[in-house]
Point group: D2
């Protein structure tokens, strides 16, 4: 499964180089993976409410071309890897209508409880784990 | 009492107009009033730990001149008004070495508990209230 | 004329109080007034390209209720006042489906050129001025 | 050479998980590498003024432990690799007084001109290139 998120670049996201400041991409990956799991009927908010957090432990980002103010961007998101204790998402960001991505990235997240201690998602939240697993297959 | 905070403008705080994006000033006021109360021996962190929060309820900001990347800025902070249920801070931001402020602002904050319900600070935390009150006088 | 913008609160916009950090509202007002002028067939990007900038000179914001992660918010924007050298916008932010705003604000902006010097918009860009003026009336 | 930068975590940098939102680290790396080159007598501002930009093309970040509001953090920065057309910085972030980093990262930057076209730094700005090169050696 690949989810698609659409965003419009905000003025506040630009810097004096005239392009989007690179720190904003991490914010976009986050809303993109939230869209991904919402497609599965899971909300990040509901996960937090039952005490499941998924903090980032690794981020890799490749900036290929700049994004500009007012650009409409499409973020394609998929799960690259799912383990019992962590998950890896992959992102490709395109300017709307273009075929080459301007940015590609991966993020790895641990499954932890409210005390920020690692948990085994398959054991603690089998329903969520199964939904994530199934989305990998189609 | 007037506290002084010094900051250096970060690249990420600029926008494509080549100046600091106006949304960052609210972040600076916040660290400036934190410095103010730390001068009194109170930390915002300790306040939160005892369940006292001071969310903003009003913000007024006057942008006089732009701030630029790498500028060193001085923020002067004082309490303008202290009531049992809320507090008003006043800020003046200067480029280091200049006499005219580039920005002036006020913020009003409510005293609330963790459930975000209003509290009477004088009654709930008389020590903190007294320290704030005394700082108004000298 | 009143324009409506819809946004979804991003995780990165929250703070450890569990609500949206107040500095983000200024970012939202900005995208809301951009939507307003786009409704008139003007883009902020096109304005910048002809050398017209509209930096903020005054911001007033009243925080009535908090906004939370994942909330869908509606921002209603209108022009409150239009002068030859500056413009005032007014904003009301609602949680989707609610009748009472959680935040109200005004921003005042100067019309300046690329050197950040004030200009008379009616004289320099009569087409844009007229469109803004007409939107005030219906 | 290793430069050290000190920052204090701002409230606005936290999120509702109660830790620093991960997107802020990229802002910190940026101010850390700015400090590094300032130690060499180069300012990023001066580089921009002569038309030399160093946009990021790759970011890798490993989040080991969370950072909290009000933490004082030390960022150690060094050049990992210098080529004629790009440069790689390495960062280690520590909570003050601790021996294990809470975050490690690398960023790769291209040398480009104002039109965002790649340039050969050794040829275009030999003085800057030499200073960077020498800092690698001691």
């Amino acid at each position: 499964m690949v989810s698609k998120s659409k965003i419009k670049v905000r003025y506040a996201e630009t810097d004096q180089m005239g392009v989007v400041h690179h720190s904003n991409y991490a914010v976009w990956y986050e809303l993109a993976r939230t869209d991904y799991i919402e497609t599965l009927g899971i909300t990040y908010k509901a996960m937090e409410e039952v005490g499941l957090l998924v903090p980032i432990i690794n981020l890799q980002s490749k900036y290929i071309k700049p994004a500009f103010y007012d650009n409409t961007l499409i973020i394609e998101t998929r799960i690259k890897k799912l383990l019992k204790v962590k998950i890896e998402f992959e992102y490709k960001i395109y300017r709307e209508g273009e075929e080459q991505p301007i940015n590609t990235a991966t993020t790895v997240h641990a499954f932890v409880n409210k005390a920020l201690k690692p948990i085994n998602l398959k054991k603690e939240s089998p329903t969520i784990y199964t939904k994530l697993e199934q989305s990998l297959e189609y």
